[in-house]
């Protein structure tokens, strides 16, 4: 009776896919909590697309893809900050320009490759079932690195996210924490590329945290709920993709999206309504 559950576990590729996607889900869900609180959802989308030219260049040079992806993502993150300051433009405007520009560069370079390359195509949409034992070790190391940095700096990241002015005035290195956090996002994206692909990474980052935000007003519970979704959704998604023979990355994202929609529907009962909305007449006074 448990056949549908236990049968796929007989395959090593399925075991590796399960381990990889759970790690990816967990890392993205934790990083995503800080991302949505900083209003960085769009930034995450941009940095993942910006990784594409890096992956293509790494492929052309026969180097490791994660180095190319990380360099391209981090360079774009730094460029966004630099261009915004230099040009006096809004951050999201610059993100929109560089995001599309970098992705176009990736497609341009991709189109120069004479023969169709399937494994490169896999980076766009993910190929978690193709993850090898070596990939899995690299993934584990990167995941541990990201989670360790957040475990050490959780309170500094929280304070500088919540009130950057107050945090900086009392001596926290807010600017360095900002850059560090951008680097964390870039690494989380690199970790996720093989599992879900460039186009869907942003869902892994944003959706669990956004779902958790619908359900709680406490930061600890936000992290816990988001992490739980980040672990459960890939497991469910992989099984569904095995049973239905569907694309694994897309199925994982669809499971997360479904959980999000359930939370939105459940949230109408009032328990999760933004308390601020109830108080707006009172708090409107200081702003006028």
């Amino acid at each position: 009776m448990l056949g549908p559950i236990t049968d796929p576990l007989a395959y090593a590729f399925f075991q590796r896919a399960l381990a990889a996607s759970v790690m990816v889900g967990l890392v993205c869900a934790v990083v995503g909590c800080y991302m949505i609180l900083r209003g960085y959802a769009f930034m995450g989308d941009a940095l993942s697309h910006a990784a594409f030219p890096g992956v293509v260049v790494a492929y052309l040079l026969r180097g490791p893809f994660y180095v190319g992806a990380a360099v391209a993502s981090v360079a774009t993150a730094l460029a966004i900050g630099w261009v915004a300051r230099r040009g006096g433009l809004r951050g999201d405007t610059v993100i929109g320009v560089l995001f599309a520009g970098m992705f176009a560069l990736g497609i341009f370079l991709f189109s120069l490759i004479p023969n169709y390359v399937g494994d490169l195509f896999g980076f766009l949409f993910g190929e978690v079932l193709g993850i090898g034992p070596g990939d899995l070790v690299a993934l584990l190391l990167l995941a541990v690195a990201v989670l360790s940095v957040i475990a050490v700096l959780w309170k500094e990241l929280l304070y500088s996210t919540f009130d950057p002015l107050g945090a900086a005035a009392s001596g926290l290195p807010v600017e360095r924490l900002d850059y560090l956090f951008l680097a964390i996002i870039a690494v989380a994206i690199v970790v996720s590329l093989q599992a879900v692909g460039i186009i869907l990474v942003v869902a892994m980052l944003v959706t669990p945290a956004a779902t958790a935000q619908l359900l709680t007003r406490s930061f600890g519970r936000l992290l816990a709920i988001s992490a739980l979704i980040g672990v459960v959704a890939p497991v469910a998604g992989l099984y569904i993709s095995y049973w239905t023979n569907s694309a694994s990355g897309a199925t994982i994202v669809l499971v997360e999206t479904a959980i999000f929609l359930v939370a939105v529907a459940a949230g109408r009962n009032g328990a999760t309504r933004r308390p601020a909305a109830l108080q707006s007449s009172e708090v409107a006074q200081p702003a006028r």
Partner: protein, 278 residues
């Protein structure tokens, strides 16, 4: 007075400072000395540089020219002994933190990276919440609070940090009278213990009544002195210029209570939806 005496009694020294945003000066040649233990209100019109001056002291922006010293050192070096509370509208009130979490943040800088809050930190936070009258609301998410309670929670964060210098941007703007009285009593107590408080304010009545020193600021320092200055028609007319009417010996300030013209660089202002619609 010798130089040594000056440094010992000086909380903040601003010398020949020019500062602003995007090439537009907000402060022009500002020089100011504020003594330790002073309860200082900075008042003036919108865009007159009140917040800019506070941010310079907090080392959140750098002067174009001139020097800022804080607690006897260049601004920023004694940051752990400074607590800064931003304007209420710079805070994202939907952020998933409780009153307790916010007050605990005051302890983070001194804790350093590797240490987690211990019993002494929890005691300090508990005491700070008690002082501001928010102990019973400690588990409330900050968005569920009234305007006055929000100011109390942020003041608790500042108190929990046990700072030498409080920098408060519009601490009494838009709060109810009880909260205003309570907060001012707390701040007065802090200055009686030798701490220094510098606040920007729109509320001239509050400035006159509660603060020991006032600074009239409109790009330049118009006047510095005892709190009666805010009632001086000459100082008022020079500070507010065309934004003031004198009616039967009484000055009426024609000033938008919304205390900024444009968002300064890189800031997002979290106006409540209700405020926008009106």
């Amino acid at each position: 007075m010798s130089n040594g005496d000056m440094n010992a009694g000086e909380a903040v020294g601003v010398r020949g400072v020019w500062a602003g945003y995007d090439g537009r000066p907000a402060l022009e040649d500002v020089t100011l000395d504020l003594k330790r233990g002073a309860l200082v209100a900075i008042f003036g019109p919108n865009g007159g540089g009140k917040t800019t001056l506070l941010k310079l002291i907090a080392n959140l922006i750098q002067p174009w020219r001139g020097e800022v010293s804080v607690l006897g050192a260049p601004a920023g070096e004694e940051a752990r002994r400074v607590a800064y509370v931003p304007q209420a509208e710079l805070v994202d009130w939907s952020f998933p933190v409780s009153v307790w979490d916010v007050a605990m943040m005051g302890r983070y800088p001194a804790l350093g990276v590797l240490r987690r809050p211990v019993a002494a930190d929890r005691e300090a936070v508990g005491a700070a919440l008690e002082q501001v009258g928010m102990a019973s609301q400690r588990n409330a998410q900050i968005g569920a609070l009234s305007g006055g309670q929000r100011r109390r929670a942020f003041l608790a964060r500042a108190i929990a940090a046990d700072p030498e210098l409080y920098l408060l941007d519009e601490p009494v703007t838009g709060v109810d009278l009880t909260t205003q009285e309570d907060l001012m009593e707390l701040l007065t107590n802090e200055t009686n213990r030798g701490r220094t408080v510098i606040a920007t304010t729109h509320d001239l009545a509050a400035a006159a009544e509660h603060f020991s020193t006032v600074v009239a600021l409109n790009h330049r320092v118009i006047a510095v002195g005892r709190s009666e200055l805010v009632l001086d028609p000459d100082v008022l007319s020079r500070t507010y210029g065309g934004h003031m009417l004198v009616l039967q010996d009484r000055a009426v300030i024609l000033d938008d209570a919304h205390h900024h013209d444009t968002e300064s660089g890189g800031e997002h202002h979290y106006h409540e939806e209700g405020a926008k619609r009106r």
